[in-house]
Subunit: 111 residues, 2 copies
């Protein structure tokens, strides 16, 4: 599964990462595209409005989203193309396996 | 643990909720305050800049954050006061226990 931070390091950057999440920031200009990459289950927050074409396995979906929106992204692979006239600026909160809520919940070794 | 959607239903609203996350939107005006409430481990995304005073158990912390920032919020209780001259507009991605990655990981009953 291709990590977008590796496939498109000029467009995706890691804001921070801990045990439960990795947060990415994405910023592109009109006309720019990403290479095919994979997202885990994520929450996407739009900081700009944008129009994008998502492509994977012969399927194409065009999306148009205003700024300040929040969307759930099921784990998926795609390549994205900025087909609008504005920059795309978004934040992805990528979900990892969560930490146990209490130490009592832990039984065996962690690693 | 007081749910902010219940303690301050005019300020906090649920954007969506699924098995892994609950997403809240918060919007207040200068001078407004929340009642004491609890947050689970969360990612906060600021959609406006703001200045706030957080109070809990005799401790006070003032925070000033620009728009478009992403912050990790360890599970905590507090009350918040808008001490600035701008609205506060933020999104909270609250983390739940995550879903198992594969059905093989499940052993006993779910409920």
């Amino acid at each position: 599964m291709a990590d977008p931070v590796e496939t498109d390091s000029e467009l995706y950057s890691v804001v921070f990462e801990n045990e439960r999440v990795r947060v990415l920031r994405y910023h592109d200009l009109p006309g720019q595209s990403t290479h095919p990459h994979a997202h885990p289950d994520s929450v996407m927050i739009t900081l700009s409005s944008f129009e994008r074409r998502l492509v994977h396995g012969g399927r194409t979906v065009d999306v148009s989203i205003p700024a300040g929106e929040v969307r759930w992204l099921d784990a998926q692979e795609h390549a994205g193309h900025n087909i609008g006239s504005t920059d795309t600026l978004t934040v992805f909160v990528e979900l990892k396996e969560s930490a146990p809520r209490t130490s009592e919940a832990v039984l065996g070794p962690r690693i």
